[in-house]
């Protein structure tokens, strides 16, 4: 379970460029929930993900993962609880290392990394997991990661994220850099993994379609605040048009609120 309470993140505090990226966000994810996050550029989607992952430090508020307060923990400390896939397919793996080496690094997430052989004991398991992708990459396990396409790397990044246990899976627009075909493959794979491994997932996306089609709940961020939170029957009855309308209304309202405050 993830519990974000009153989370605020301010960049460049006290300078003329001060930017309040998150402004008192409250968000609780029950175990097994798959939440998609939408919002326009600068709404705070990536900052929210970064704050949960540990890349961005909270200015105020508190982040709990499975009851543990991780607010002040650096990224590497909380990585035992957090699995991630980045937007940039090159960011999630090491191009100079082979496919199986990258997978072995991910499989050891959350464990003490000792002097035992990294691949030996995991070879069969890694082979099976890559074979299950159906991309034919199981015959290329000793190829360098850099030789693969962005889509192949992103599919493997998803496998990497599910090799070790995690309390939450963070997906940061992980299909945005892919061609439409590969993006669809990766989103189906995401769906399958989240179901098969019962993952608690937070997915940032640009696509309203994707936000409604995948997951169990959709949250909209605007100017660092959660302005919409739908799930269940309300959500399943919604189309992209409804979402856009709500988005416009909320945005308009937010602007109105701000005007009231400043006038």
């Amino acid at each position: 379970m993830i519990k974000v309470s009153n989370l605020s993140v301010v960049f460049g505090a006290g300078t003329p460029l001060e930017k309040r990226a998150l402004n008192g966000v409250d968000l609780t994810l029950e175990a097994g929930e798959f939440v998609s996050v939408i919002g326009s550029n600068g709404a705070g989607k990536s900052t929210l993900l970064g704050a949960i992952a540990g890349d961005v430090l909270a200015t105020e508020g508190r982040i709990e993962i499975d009851g543990r307060d991780v607010t002040r923990q650096p990224t590497a400390r909380r990585a035992a609880l957090v699995a991630r896939v980045f937007q940039d397919p090159l960011a999630g793996s090491c191009g100079q290392l082979t496919i199986e080496e990258n997978l072995a690094i991910a499989a050891a997430r959350g464990t003490r990394r000792g002097l035992g052989l990294a691949i030996g004991k995991r070879r069969t398991m890694l082979h099976e997991r890559v074979e299950a992708l159906g991309l034919g990459l199981e015959s290329r396990l000793t190829d360098k990661m850099a030789l693969l396409s962005g889509g192949q790397r992103q599919a493997l990044a998803l496998v990497m994220a599910t090799l070790a246990k995690s309390s939450v899976l963070l997906l940061d627009e992980h299909t945005a850099a892919l061609d439409p075909g590969m993006a669809e493959f990766v989103i189906h794979l995401t769906d399958r993994f989240v179901r098969d491994f019962r993952l608690t997932t937070l997915m940032v996306t640009h696509s309203m379609r994707q936000a409604l089609d995948t997951g169990t709940r959709t949250v909209m961020l605007h100017e660092g605040r959660i302005v919409l939170d739908v799930s269940g029957a309300t959500r399943s009855g919604m189309g992209v048009e409804d979402l856009v309308t709500m988005f416009r209304r909320k945005r308009g309202k937010a602007i109105d609120d701000d005007e009231l405050l400043t006038s």
Binding site: T75, A76, G95, E101, L117
Partner: protein, 292 residues
């Protein structure tokens, strides 16, 4: 070239193979341009030599030299990781500080090890000429080192170190404490260079503070010459390439200096080194250019 000169070149090449391996860890594995080695080479030599002179077992003395040099690597790593000093500058600071430290350790700029027991002493005088005993002994050490380092790089710990150098963001996201990986890698890298220094002192019979100058270039030469010649995948081949590169480089230097047609003298060594490393650096580029 005489057999004596040839085996002499092989011997010095095998000593510097450890520098090549050390530089491979800093430059290639950690992506940390580390000039500390110019100081950790004579530091390893000085510590080992002084302990041998004090009557301590040469193997223990060599180990102490490695530990001292490894500590120097940690100093550089802390300056960079903890205090955010640019990696190259951090290593230069440690390097120049070590110049003074080494002179302190030896109570002067150099010491002699003539007629002192060394790691090699038990192997002399069994009918094999000394100029062959030395490279044979060094080759055994190098092979052991390559096996141990290859095994290390294939472990979970080793992969974490390679990930730290290759993609630090990914490494952190995978729970790797990258700061500690840099400390460990820099300690290992400089310990290997310290070992080279200790072996240099024992095979040549002296330790001298000025032997450190240009160590980094010779180490890089070994790495780059090896990489240019051995283009096989995998870290094992990369490590072997460091060793082969170091030996071939020293033979090439010997040939260049002995060839009368070139009219070179011993003091041209640094220039020849620079030219050889430059050639090794631009050759792959030229080859690629020709293909394109």
């Amino acid at each position: 070239m005489s057999a004596f000169a040839f085996w002499g070149a092989v011997e010095i090449g095998l000593v510097y193979a450890f520098v090549g391996l050390g530089v491979y860890f800093s430059f290639r594995v950690l992506d940390f341009p580390d000039l500390t080695v110019d100081g950790s080479f004579p530091l390893g030599a000085a510590v080992a030599a002084m302990m041998i002179i004090a009557g301590i077992n040469p193997w223990l003395a060599t180990l102490a030299g490695m530990i001292a040099a490894g500590a120097a690597g940690v100093v550089t790593a802390v300056l960079n990781v903890r205090f955010k000093i640019l990696n190259l500058l951090a290593s230069i600071l440690t390097m120049i500080a070590l110049f003074s430290v080494v002179i302190r350790v030896m109570h002067g700029p150099n010491v002699s090890l003539l007629r002192r027991p060394t790691m090699l002493s038990p192997f002399y005088g069994h009918g094999v000429p000394d100029y062959l005993v030395r490279p044979a002994f060094l080759l055994v050490l190098v092979v052991i080192a390559v096996i141990l380092l290859a095994r290390l790089l294939a472990s979970d710990f080793g992969l974490a170190m390679r990930a730290t150098g290759a993609n630090v963001r990914m490494a952190r996201a995978q729970g790797i404490r990258t700061d500690w990986q840099v400390y460990a890698g820099m300690a290992l890298s400089n310990a290997l260079v310290g070992l080279a220094g200790a072996l240099f002192a024992q095979t040549n019979g002296f330790a001298d503070v000025t032997t450190g100058t240009g160590t980094i270039v010779i180490g890089l030469a070994a790495v780059i010459v090896g990489e240019t010649l051995i283009r096989l995948r995998g870290v094992v081949f990369a490590l072997i390439a460091c060793v082969v590169g170091s030996v071939l480089y020293h033979i090439a230097i010997q040939v260049a200096l002995e060839a009368d047609v070139l009219g070179l003298q011993a003091s041209d060594l640094k220039l020849v080194t620079a030219v050889l490393v430059t050639l090794a650096l631009i050759l792959p580029r030229l080859r690629r250019g020709a293909r394109a």
